[in-house]
Assembly symmetry: C2
Homo-oligomer: 255 residues x 2
């Protein structure tokens, strides 16, 4: 009823996943300790997380699996359907669109978009692909509430703007770009490269690679432009509007 820490929300979804799995195994009741263990967190945190959304456990016993699942689904707004749109029907987009009705069939795919003329009009997972230009129109019409962006980096911001224009307020972004959106739009970005780099950091740290976590001191290079060795006339950038457009996929992946 109050704020529910952002971090807790993410974990609640994980608890729900674990609980569903447990229920499938015939588990009727589980303690905070047991659930926490399987969810990979400590029990105090789990109880605290649950406390943010109301208590549903029985002291001395634990939680009733089915009941807690029901409760979490309600809390996460899964009792309502969220029509989803997938933009960018490439490898990933295609896989997602076909994705058996999307997780838990609570997110029916209501629209598909792409720019490729060859894709427009074809059917993917029972839905016809529309041209990106129709995003505002179609999303508003079909009341799409959640969109998944699977386009190359260069097209993501444009697509995002169209989605916002279409009234979409929740976006799951798989493009390697930081999307600029109004305050009332929620964006979650999943970037393969970023994930791999984070792992790379830990791997490097683990083996104590010299460089990591401490610059290669010594090269105190400075002064006038280095690397590029060119005039440094401070290129002030106004990042605010910078369309890193560029349809070419290639770089999209790179970072």
């Amino acid at each position: 009823v109050r704020s529910v820490p952002e971090a807790a929300v993410a974990r609640l979804a994980v608890y729900l996943q674990v609980l569903t799995s447990l229920r499938g195994q015939g588990v009727r009741t589980i303690s905070s300790e047991g659930l926490a263990r399987t969810a990979g967190v400590n029990s105090a945190k789990l109880r605290k997380d649950l406390s943010y959304v109301g208590s549903y456990g029985t002291r001395g016993v634990g939680y009733d699996t089915a009941r807690l699942i029901e409760h979490l689904e309600r809390v996460l707004g899964l009792t309502r359907r969220h029509r989803a749109a997938v933009v960018g029907i490439g490898n990933l987009g295609h896989a997602l669109a076909n994705y058996a009705g999307f997780p838990g069939r609570g997110f029916p795919v209501a629209a598909l978009f792409d720019v490729d003329e060859d894709l427009i009009g074809i059917s993917v997972g029972g839905r016809l692909v529309d041209h990106i230009d129709r995003i505002p129109e179609v999303c508003a019409e079909r009341e799409v509430t959640i969109a998944v962006i699977c386009t190359p980096a260069g097209a993501a911001q444009e697509v995002c703007d169209l989605l916002v224009a279409g009234g979409v307020r929740c976006i799951l972004n798989f493009a390697p770009v930081v999307l600029q959106v109004p305050d009332d739009v929620e964006v979650r970005t999943v970037d393969l490269a970023v994930e791999l780099q984070i792992l790379s950091f830990h791997e490097a740290r683990r083996r104590g690679d010299s460089d990591v976590a401490n610059g290669a001191k010594g090269d105190v290079v400075k002064g006038v432009d280095v690397v590029t060795g060119v005039t440094t006339a401070a290129q002030v950038v106004d990042p605010l509007l910078d369309p890193l457009i560029s349809p070419a996929e290639g770089i999209a992946v790179r970072r």
Copy 2:
């Protein structure tokens, strides 16, 4: 030069991405304010993050794009190559394996695995698919340091154990399961369902859906048997995505 908050590491990877994009646009220098803006964080946080890994800016001017990129790559351990393995060559696994050399060519795909007999032996992106049973052997032999799990939920833990047996200490998990691993193994899970649910929560919250964040008190049920936890402690990192992949496993996706 020590700890670098976990949250900061993730952001450093994002800064690197943004910087690379900026460099591509010809930007030579950028201020913390500008970089922060494009990366979607506030400048104080960005400066603090960078301070954890050493200073490389010029007061009164800003950061030299190329130089900062180089520095961040070093810090994130990207100067070294990390041979990667992809397990589960379904839709997603296939897409990833073909993924133009994997982000930034710093992660060459050195091995592919699956259980499906029809896939064993075929070539994907220039690499032959081996049977999952050979994971320990092949990973050790080819010195795989990072693995990506794209199997259905039901096979993920088993695959994970094999990877760990093969010496892999960094895992990117796309299966909707919380993997149980030894303390020295780093796991990052990306679960589509979880991501969608988090967005669902915000959507529900936004429109003030009655249920959300407060349960429907009243029904009190209880149970008997209990379930204990499982093996070791895991490590939930980022929530996750799901299985877009594969054969069967229906419920796995559900939550």
